[in-house]
């Protein structure tokens, strides 16, 4: 059974406006790779050049931030809810 990825508003432009996507992946890293293979434009927004999660992106499995549970190796149980939470600031960017 796949996991349910919740896509934040700020990244829906890369997922054809989809807010929830059902994806396969035993770990957070594998799950995000299946997302990137469907929507390659999202890759630089999630990962840096070395493949690490960017500092303004948090991923939660259930209520837990994966930064504290093994990062991209964090296991994802069948049917789990995985949420991407980016830094947002609103307003006029760059002022």
């Amino acid at each position: 059974m796949p996991a349910n990825l919740l896509v934040p508003t700020a990244l829906r432009g890369f997922t054809d406006r989809k807010a929830e996507i059902s994806l396969e992946g035993a770990t957070v890293g594998a799950l995000l790779e299946s997302l990137v293979s469907l929507y390659p434009d999202i890759r630089p927004h999630l990962f840096d050049e070395r493949g690490a999660l960017r500092g303004f992106i948090n991923v939660f499995v259930g209520e837990e931030n994966v930064r504290g549970t093994g990062g991209l190796d964090t296991p994802v149980a069948d049917g789990a809810s995985v949420m991407v939470v980016p830094a947002i600031a609103g307003g006029a960017f760059g002022r």
């Binding site: 700020a10 432009g13 890759r43 303004f56 930064r67 830094a87 600031a89 307003g91 760059g94």
Partner: protein
């Protein structure tokens, strides 16, 4: 949990105040003592915009004794869709002055201090130091990190909310009791990566929802009690009307509030957020006038409109190939590498990032950015079209 206002600062309530605040006094969790704490409290609201408007209105109504308002902007017509503290007659007035007038009319018993300026590394500690609580309603990353760091150094709670389109986040950063802003977001997005509300839009009521959540958190911190949003991030998607709470942990390696901090004073936040880098020079650009001449001359130019479909309907750019920003890499095979591609968006920001993203994905053909976007085209080339 006790409130953050020391007993020594409390003063009696007047007879008028007992009447005005009676609905608070009836709550056993607030009562006369809680209302006295509100009266003695000093709250700084940074940013008098979409979030600052409901924050200031509700905190003034609630009897917060001293409110500080920081903003350097004037009221613009496009603010009025959500910044409900202003009216049409306030257009072109400084936001702090217009807001102060409204707050004094709402509650003449409180003091409103206005700071018609930008909060910077030079003035932030002095301004924030005068207050008990900071509510951050700013609209940019440098200010977020500045407010967050300053609150850690001064040991003040930073009541945080931010919004984008239909989604908002709220929490209370209090490094004495939980994580700080940098624990959650160690580094900011590079400029241009995340579109602004000025480009991406925002549902007008969204800052109303998040700003009132901030006001509730401020009141709880002052009165003491309840369950503050410390160590939790409250996420609201107003389009799906779905709210989610996730846990936030303090990062023991946080450079500001961790066990061995490496940042112990305010820094240059524009530089930290990459705004000092002139990366724009890497990307060749054309002005609206130049693009017009090249199109008229029949040059081999392919215009790629990276705006979203609803934006294109606001302003049609004839002859352009529509490929939304979020599909560029997926669809780069559709581009003609022997033609000069000119990327267009609303103001020339997203198109810059589009070109960088395509380069990183390996596209080899020549690419140009339409400087200042289709809004410049509307101003300089085709006055029949309206900028939006």
């Amino acid at each position: 949990m006790t409130g953050i206002i020391p007993d020594g600062r409390l003063a009696d309530l007047t007879r008028e105040e007992l009447v005005r605040y009676s609905r608070h006094l009836l709550l056993p969790e607030v009562g006369v003592e809680g209302q006295k704490r509100l009266k003695a409290s000093r709250v700084l609201i940074v940013g008098t915009g979409g979030l600052g408007a409901p924050l200031a209105l509700y905190l003034a109504a609630a009897g917060v004794g001293t409110l500080g308002l920081v903003d350097c902007d004037l009221v613009e017509a496009s603010n009025l869709q959500r910044q409900v503290i202003f009216g049409t007659r306030d257009l072109d007035r400084p936001k702090t002055a217009a807001a102060a007038d409204r707050l004094k009319a709402l509650n003449p018993g409180i003091t409103v201090n206005t700071y018609n300026m930008r909060l910077t590394s030079r003035n932030a500690l002095a301004v924030i130091g005068d207050y008990d609580v900071v509510a951050d309603g700013t609209d940019n990353y440098p200010s977020r990190y500045l407010v967050g760091d300053a609150c850690v150094f001064l040991k003040k709670p930073d009541v945080y909310a931010s919004i984008f389109q239909f989604e908002g986040q709220a929490t209370v950063f209090d490094a004495e009791r939980g994580p700080c802003y940098r624990c959650l977001y160690p580094s900011p997005p590079p400029p241009g990566l995340v579109p602004s509300c000025g480009e991406g839009g925002v549902m007008g009521v969204l800052p109303g929802i998040l700003g009132t959540i901030q006001a509730a958190e401020v009141i709880k911190l002052i009165v003491g009690g309840g369950r503050p949003l410390i160590g939790r991030l409250h996420i609201v998607d107003a389009w799906l009307m779905r709210t989610v709470d996730v846990k936030l942990d303090k990062n023991p390696d946080c450079p500001v509030c961790g066990k061995s901090p490496t940042i112990t004073e305010l820094v240059d936040y524009e530089q930290f957020c990459g705004l000092g880098d002139d990366r724009g020079e890497e990307v060749p650009s054309v002005t609206a006038g130049e693009l017009k001449s090249r199109l008229d001359a029949g040059d081999r130019v392919q215009v790629i409109d990276i705006r979203e479909p609803h934006e294109r309907s606001l302003f049609r750019f004839g002859g352009a190939v529509p490929v939304p920003f979020g599909q560029l890499v997926r669809r780069m095979d559709e581009f003609d590498p022997s033609a000069d591609l000119v990327f267009i968006c609303k103001i020339g920001q997203r198109s810059l990032y589009a070109i960088r993203a395509l380069r990183e994905a390996g596209y080899g053909g020549p690419m140009f950015n339409l400087k200042d976007g289709v809004n410049a085209w509307a101003r300089e080339v085709d006055p029949d079209l309206d900028a939006y």
